[in-house]
Each structure stands twice: as C-alpha cells, then as structure tokens.
C-alpha cells in the first residue's frame, strides 16, 4: 500500500514537467505550428531558472535568502529564457516561413547546448568538486507544501503533498482547455491552426495569433524545465540530467489528442510508465530489461496513434495545417 502511494506520488512528480511541456505544445500546435524545439525550450527554461537562482544565492548567501524572492527570481528568468526561445522560433517560422521541423530540431540542439554550456560555466564559478550545481536553499522554497498535507494520511499524500508548481501545471492545463473550447479566442485560434486562409478571410490576424500562442506555449513548456530542476531534482543541476522528457511531452500531445484536459491524466500515466521499472520486479530481470520498461511510454503513444488514425474521427486528428506556413498571397 505505501509502495503504491509512493509510486503514484512519484508518477505525479514525474508527470508535472511532462504536463507543462505538453500543454505548451498543444497550444502551439493548435495554432498550426509543430514546435519540435520543446525539449530545447524546456532545457533553456531549466537553466535560465538555475542562472537566476544561482546569482541570487551568490549575492545574498544561501543561508539568508528571502523565500519569496528565491521563488520569483528563478521563475522570471526561466520564463524570460523560454520566451526568447519562443520568439526565435516564431520569427523563423511565422515571419520568415522557415521549415518548422528543421527550425524546431535546431532549437532543441541549440537549447541543450546552451544549457550545458552555462551549466558547465556555473559549475566552474561555484568551484564545486562535483559536476553539478546545488541550489538546495532555493529548492526548499520551491518545495514548500501545504502545511496540513502530512496530517491527512493517504489522501493528503496523494492530493496535497506536491509543491505549488505542480498545481500550477494542472490549473494552466485546465485553463488552456477552457480557452480552446469555450471562448471566442479559442475558436479563432483553432481556426488559425485548421485553415489559416479561412481565418484570414474572416478578419482574424493570423500571424498575431501564431506569435502569441507559440510564445505562451514556450513559456509554459519552460516552466516544466524549472519544475524539474528545482523540485524533482531538489535544486541539483547536472548537465544532461533532464533526459528525454521533452520528447515525451511531444508524444503526450498525440496521446492526449490535442486536449489539455486529457494531457493531465496522460502526463501522470506517462510519468508512471517512465519510472515503473523501479517498481516492478520480475525474478531474474536484469538491468538490461529495465531499458525495455523505459520503452513503455513510446509504445503506448504508438498504439494510441494507430487507434486514433483508424477511428478516423476528424476531431481527433492533428490540426489540418499543422506544420504548414501561411502566406496570404500564395493561393
């Protein structure tokens, strides 16, 4: 029982970065842009937060940080970092109409390189003997949980034991779902992603919608990186630690058939699948078999992709002009 509760808790914690990433990507894709730069953007979101908090801790000393500033500074630097990434992506794909796949992949490569470079530099500055930066003080502020969580037993552990960013992720996903399906802005946004020429003829500013949503999407995805380093990894940044989570977030978008509400459950499920190898023990299973378990999320995505394609329900398909640039004069 305790094992199960712990597993679910860990699954949720694994799921939060994925949820930020997939919510951001869903918004972006709904505007017709396939942003494969999400893994890089999440990486940049993480390192930008680390940079902010590192210099804040350096300045005032880890012992006497103000908890409010310790949260707000990394949050802002992280958002700024991923916003810049989003703007680069938009400028290339919306204004210059560059190929979205190539641009996205380039951004991912760039983002990972950017993170590793500054990560390495900070390790050098801190003079740490280990190849990592430790920001435990800041992390502690991020990890503040509700005071009554521990007194509520299993329920408290399952529902209230997470830090504020986890709840932010769920609220953001719910808001995104509401905006997409129940507001005029959402209707316009979906029209832009489905058929930009129609949206344009209806008087909708297509490029503005694309820019704004893609940038908001990037910022949301970047928060996933910040959550990972500050909360999940307890404030320890090591190069490459973020792993494949960005790609998993992109896979969740397909799994959730472009619906942020489904993405909430999908992220927790994928978070669970991502760590399940720690919890299942088949007699005689060696370390090499663990790798097979790590495959599960991708396998599930493949199956979902096959099922949704077979059902041919039009609402479950990707936005119609996903990946295509729009240029009014080209008819």
């Amino acid at each position: 029982m305790t094992m199960l509760v712990q597993f679910i808790q860990r699954a949720v914690m694994q799921g939060v970065p994925l949820l930020f990433g997939s919510t951001g990507e869903i918004l972006t894709e709904k505007s017709g842009h396939l942003n494969l730069g999400i893994p890089g953007i999440m990486y940049v979101g993480a390192i930008s937060g680390v940079i902010g908090s590192f210099f804040y801790e350096e300045k005032v000393g880890a012992a006497n940080i103000n908890p409010f500033l310790a949260v707000i500074i990394p949050l802002l630097t992280s958002m700024l970092g991923s916003l810049i990434m989003g703007l680069i992506y938009c400028f290339l794909t919306v204004s210059l109409r560059a190929n979205q796949n190539v641009t996205g992949l380039a951004l991912t490569t760039f983002g990972v390189g950017f993170g590793n470079f500054f990560g390495g530099s900070l390790i050098k500055i801190s003079g740490s003997s280990m190849p990592a930066i430790t920001l435990s003080a800041t992390s502690k502020c991020f990890k503040t949980t509700l005071p009554f969580a521990n007194s509520l037993g299993v329920i408290g552990k399952l529902l209230f034991s997470y830090s504020f960013l986890a709840y932010v992720a769920i609220v953001v996903a719910l808001i995104a779902g509401y905006i997409l399906n129940h507001t005029r802005t959402g209707l316009h946004l979906r029209a832009v992603g489905e058929n930009p020429a129609t949206a344009d003829a209806a008087g909708i500013n297509v490029n503005r919608y694309k820019y704004v949503t893609t940038c908001i999407g990037s910022v949301i995805a970047g928060l996933g990186g910040l959550y990972y380093v500050m909360d999940y990894a307890s404030g320890i940044w090591s190069n490459g630690g973020f792993g494949d989570r960005g790609w998993l977030a992109v896979a969740i978008v397909i799994f959730a058939i472009w619906r942020p509400n489904i993405a909430i459950l999908a992220s927790i499920l994928f978070g669970g699948l991502f760590i399940i190898y720690n919890y299942v023990s088949i007699p005689g299973m060696g370390i090499e078999a663990q790798e097979l378990f790590k495959m599960l999320p991708y396998l599930v995505t493949l199956i979902v992709l096959i099922i949704t394609s077979m059902r041919e329900k039009r609402e479950s398909q990707p936005p119609q002009s996903l990946g295509l640039s729009y240029f009014r004069e080209d008819r």
Partner: protein, 512 residues
C-alpha cells in the same frame, strides 16, 4: 430613374502585369433585384466581383454605395458596407459546426455564446427558407449545405448586397431550384443579389437584368424580359475574328481512339463525365470545347490512364498490330506497355507536365528513364533531345541545364510540347496549350499541332478560345456539365452555335 442604385461601379479598371482583367467597367445594381453577370472564362467576372468584396483593389475607377463614393480595401471593409461574397471555393473550417464557422472572426458580439448564435442562425435560415442544422459539422455536409453555411455567414453579418460566384456549378438541378427559391425570397426582402454565371437558362430564369462581359470589357446590360438566349450568346462570344491558321484537309483518316459511354464521378460524388462518346481519327485535329470544369480534364486524364472511370470504354486501334486495346482503368505504364504511343500535354504544365526545379535534360528523362538496361540512367540522348528542342522550337534558355521554372510560360510550353512530340505519338492530347502564351508562341504551337496532324497523328485539342477552336480543328466535340452536347464540323459551324452548345444544360428527364 430617380432611384439611387445600391451599388454603382464607374470605369473600373484592373490589370495584372500586362494583362488587362477589367477595362472601364460600369455597372449598377438596384435594391431588390437580381443581376446576372454573364461572360466566358477569363472575361473578368470574378476579378470584378473581387474588387467589390475587397479582395482586389481597382487600379482606376470609383465604387458608389447608395450614391456615396467608397473605398473597399479589405473583406472587412466590404462587410462594413454590407457587401458579402460567396466564393466558388468555400472558406470553411471542416471540423467546426455551421454556427462556429458563421461566428468566426466576429469580435463585437458581446459574450461568446454559441447557443445564442445558433438560435440566430436558425432564425435567418427559417426567414429565407434554408434547411440547415446549426450544430452539424462541416465535414458531414454536402456541397449545397456548405454553400448554405456560406450564404448565412454573409447574411449573419448583415449583408444587403450578396455576390455569388457561380453558385450553381456544384449543385444538382434540384438543389439549384432550392437555391433560386431562397434568392427570390431575399430579393423580396429588399436585398441586392449579383450572380456570376455562364449558364444561359439560369440567367433567363432567375435574373431581372443581365450584364455581359467579354475579354475584360463591358458589353452591355439588358433586361431579361427583353432578351433571349441567342441574343445573349452573341453578346457573350462576340463577332468572329479571322485567325489565318493554315488548316489542311485531313487525309487518310482512320478511327484511332473510340471513346464510348464514359462515366466518372468525382470525390464530391458529382458526375463529371456523363456518357461521353466520340471518335478521334488519325490525321485530324479534334477540338474539345466547353466552359472550364465541364469534364475536359477528367476526360483527358481518363484517356491518359490517370482517372478511374465508372463505366465506358476507350478503344485504341493500334495501327501497327491492327489490334484493339481497351485503355480504360489502365495505368500510364500499362498503356505504354501495350504499345500505345500516347502523348499528353496537360493543362498544369509545371505541376503535371514538367518538374520546375529540374533542368531541360532531366525533364526529357522523365519520359525515357526506363530505357536501357544498365542501373544508371542514360543522359546522353535526353541531352541531345533537349538541345534539339531548344534549337528547333527556338526555346529561349541560357542552356539545357537551366531549371525549367526559370523559363517564361511560352518557353516552358515549347519544352513540354517538344518532348511530347519527340516520342512520335499516334495520339497527342493537348489541354489549353496556348494559355498564357503570346501570339507568336501560340502560332508556333498551332503549327506544331498541324504538323502532327499531317503526319497522321490523332490530335485532341482542348481549348477555350472559340475562334481558335473553329480555325484550327477539323471537328469539335462540345461538352457541357460532363455531357457531350454536340459534335460539329469546325469548317461549317459558327461561334454562336458552339457557344449555345457549351451553355446548354439538360433538365432531369429530357433535353432543355
């Protein structure tokens, strides 16, 4: 008349580069009337309407609405002046409902409430007698339902002047009647309606007045009650122009391609070929006339093996083996393997005919890459052929290694026709081979076709200019809505006769 027209155009001129799409056009539409704009393809009807609906901006001229001069710079401006256009190609988001499409882009409606909007849609639909479920998704709709959504979209925005671009082109006769009933109700409601069309019977049936355009020029406006179909045809096609194309008498003709009873339906389940039968003879040029989209493309593609047919046969008489082969539903390669030497100059030169980014030599190889036994393609002969075409047809190009998309339209066409002729075909099909070409290039193409004819090739020429069809071809097959409405002798026919056949439509159950 003291009444101020709802919309008045004065001396509207619009040019695209060198071509004049509209020249000094004057037009007026009154309140509560239906005006038809009649004209052949390329006569500038749609361009003119696009200027009223804010898609294009005129080079010269003025537009008055209710007597006041206005400037219409965008579709939004047009909506503000209560003008709405229903385009031929619908602008709808497939996965949205009718209501969602209708309210798309409207910002000043207060709170977003789809239920309220749906009720308003229903109200408009009921007022004019449309049948529409506001919550139906577009992808579940038939073409006529989609059109209804487009019309209601315009009415929802409060349009008083409606422009419909060939609204009946995609409708069945019953759907057309239903649309006309709705249009009459709107007219009674005081709305002004402009219909672009080239179907004469519909013009006579629905409109109060008709304005005729020909080659971008305004010919005149007449009241429907004071005219008839033949007078309108004459206004539409104009006087005969002498072209002086050398036309030899066909000799040694033999039936080469016997097309019988072809039927074909497109993806929207509309019949595009309906029992089409004719015979193409060797040593003559068979013209195919018709309004654009009457089934010409499907017909040629069916013969070339690119279009699946529902019924009928395409019999090829092989002059070498004296064998008869049915080409129906065979792929182009199967057709070639039967020993049928078929050449096709498609309408879409850089889409279907040539690859724009490849050079002349590579484009020649598209026809010959299967030849030879080695694993490597043979480049020598195609290059020689490219050079020969450049020289013989006087193609203006820096070299044979220039990508064809960099050549001008006429030169692209010379390369394509040159390649197709080089394979010494027995059947040569050319769709609009002179479209966009200047006079000299056009004559060069006519001469090439005539040379082929004299060599005994069965030439099928799809054209849009009636003067050219009559001067170049030996016989002309006239298509209207996928049906053959007549096969005439080009030496004896007149433009009026062909024009009437082109616009002839069949009612259900008999001839009109």
């Amino acid at each position: 008349m003291a009444e101020v027209p709802a919309i008045e155009l004065k001396n509207i001129t619009k040019t695209f580069g060198e071509t004049i799409a509209n020249k000094d056009i004057c037009l007026e539409v009154r309140r509560g009337e239906i005006l038809s704009i009649l004209g052949e393809n390329g006569s500038g009807k749609t361009t003119l309407m696009n200027m009223i609906s804010g898609i294009y901006y005129p080079d010269h001229g003025q537009i008055f609405i209710d007597g006041k001069e206005v400037e219409i710079k965008s579709p939004k401006d047009a909506y503000d002046y209560k003008i709405g256009m229903i385009h031929q190609h619908f602008k709808l988001v497939d996965i949205f409902t009718a209501t969602e499409n209708i309210v798309l882009g409207l910002e000043d409606e207060g709170r977003y409430n789809l239920k309220k909007s749906a009720a308003k849609v229903k109200e408009i639909a009921d007022l004019y007698g449309f049948v529409l479920d506001p919550n139906k998704k577009i992808y579940d709709m038939s073409v006529s339902e989609k059109q209804t959504v487009e019309i209601i979209k315009v009415l929802y925005r409060g349009a008083d002047i409606l422009i419909l671009d060939e609204p009946t082109a995609v409708l069945t006769p019953q759907e057309t009647q239903r649309l006309f009933a709705v249009l009459r109700r709107m007219k009674e409601d005081g709305k002004s309606i402009i219909i672009i069309t080239h179907k004469l019977n519909e013009v006579m049936e629905i409109s109060d007045r008709v304005s005729v355009l020909r080659k971008g020029e305004y010919i005149g406006t007449v009241s429907t009650s004071e005219t008839d179909e033949s007078a309108l045809t004459e206004m539409m096609v104009g006087k005969k122009i002498e072209l002086n194309i050398d036309r030899s008498e066909p000799h040694d003709t033999a039936d080469r391609l016997i097309v019988a009873g072809l039927n074909c339906t497109n993806r929207e389940n509309v019949k595009v070929l309906d029992n089409v039968s004719f015979t193409a003879k060797s040593g003559e040029i068979l013209g195919i006339a018709g309004i654009a989209g009457s089934g010409q493309r499907e017909l040629l593609e069916a013969i070339a093996g690119l279009q699946r047919l529902d019924g009928g046969s395409i019999i090829y008489n092989n002059p070498k083996t004296e064998m008869q082969e049915d080409l129906r539903n065979k792929t182009p390669i199967q057709i070639r393997e039967l020993g049928v030497r078929l050449s096709f100059v498609p309408e879409d030169r850089l889409g279907m005919g040539l690859v724009g980014n490849m050079d002349l030599t590579d484009n020649m190889m598209l026809r010959s890459y299967r030849k030879g036994k080695s694993a490597f393609v043979e480049r020598g002969k195609p290059k020689a052929l490219a050079e020969q075409i450049v020289e013989e047809l006087e193609v203006v190009t820096p070299s044979v290694s220039t990508p064809v998309r960099k050549l001008s339209g006429g030169n692209v066409q010379k390369v394509l026709v040159g390649r197709e002729i080089a394979s010494s075909p027995t059947v040569l099909m050319a769709a609009y081979p002179v479209r966009g070409l200047d006079i000299n290039s056009s004559y060069l193409i006519y001469n090439l076709l005539n040379q082929q004819k004299e060599k005994g090739v069965a030439v099928i020429f799809v054209g849009e200019d009636l003067d050219v069809l009559i001067a170049l071809c030996d016989r002309i097959v006239v298509l209207s809505s996928g049906k053959v409405t007549g096969i005439v002798d080009a030496r004896k026919t007149t433009k009026e006769e062909v024009g009437l056949l082109m616009t002839k439509t069949f009612e259900e159950g008999g001839k009109d």
